[in-house]
């Protein structure tokens, strides 16, 4: 995913701090799809994502006057979103309804999707939608912190350094969490391959 330009963000933040509410609207428009993906893949529920995202922007709007630009707006807003989502997940516990099943039609033209289904692999042998469903279930079996790292690295395409800034942990911690999460996902999916009915 392309990272937004920092200069544009700086200008929009300055305008918001000067009292221009339309500048913050532009930031909302710019960041809501990206943050939606982040929160959605962590919560696995559309309604929760919507509420959380509204709260994230409301909190950011209140706190933006205190934003001094030590980090980029991108890092700052992502930190707010991740921290609020992790707090929400702790409160929610295991009681949730998964709604991660709305795959966009654009997937059919995705180059990676075509490559994945063309070559001989376990993916081709299984029904893709079923596989995606199992992957989502596997994701939800990860701890919240591991899921956050997987979401940011694999789905959002963020580099390790950026993730470490957002989570305020070392890059080594990010890498070790990723390694552990990948192993976990691999085990869950292999289990599904061996017992597809379960």
């Amino acid at each position: 995913m392309n990272r937004p330009k920092a200069d544009e963000d700086r200008e929009l933040v300055a305008r918001t701090q000067a009292g221009d509410p339309h500048a913050f609207d532009e930031l909302v428009i710019k960041y809501s799809p990206r943050l939606y993906g982040l929160v959605y893949n962590m919560t696995a529920n559309h309604e929760d994502t919507n509420d959380l995202l509204q709260d994230v922007f409301a909190k950011a709007y209140k706190a933006i006057r205190g934003f001094r630009g030590k980090s980029s707006f991108y890092t700052w807003i992502h930190s707010i979103a991740v921290n609020m989502t992790l707090n929400f997940l702790k409160k929610r516990g295991r009681r949730f309804h998964m709604s991660l099943d709305d795959v966009d039609a654009g997937i059919q033209s995705d180059k990676e999707f075509l490559q994945l289904t063309a070559r001989s692999s376990p993916v081709r042998e299984a029904d893709l939608s079923e596989l995606q469903k199992r992957l989502n279930e596997a994701m939800m079996k990860l701890s919240d912190e591991h899921r956050a790292v997987v979401t940011m690295f694999h789905i959002q395409g963020m580099p390790h350094a950026e993730i470490s800034k957002i989570l305020r942990v070392s890059e080594g911690t990010v890498r070790s969490r990723l390694f552990y999460a990948n192993r976990q996902l691999q085990n869950y999916l292999d289990e599904f391959r061996k017992n597809p009915v379960s």
Partner: protein
Amino acid sequence: MDEFDDKEIATLLRLKRHEQPPPGYFEDFLHEFHRRQRDELLRQPLWRICLGRANEFMFRLNLSRLTSYPAAVAAVLVCAAIVSVRVYQEPQRANFAARQQTTFNLSAETEAGLSLASPVAARIFSTKPLRSSKSGHTHPRNSGTPPRYVLDSVPVSYEPTVRF
């Protein structure tokens, strides 16, 4: 049958980018955000709204920067204190100087009386400062007659303040 490797898992995860909200969601999102902001504003008590407005006003005046430099603020306060103390002490120093000059003139007058130096020069030198001093104008002795120094009398400051 092969096992899932890291690459395949990564690819599968990347495909999750295509999981999108219903069409038109992001267009409505901003309207929903504005609606919630307004609702929240209406739910707030009046004092909190006033506090928020005052905070905003202070922020626009950029007064918050002053609080971030406590050393500068402290320095300004110390300077102000020193200046005010000096201003307060200034008249006392003038009095002290006048008294010193009075003493000096007194000795000069005495010396002039005893020595053979020109009495005109001594008189000019000795009378002017006494006329300009504040106490000289207010004292009844100095009002009409030329100044006369009595060495064997009790100084004015030693006299009791209240007389019946």
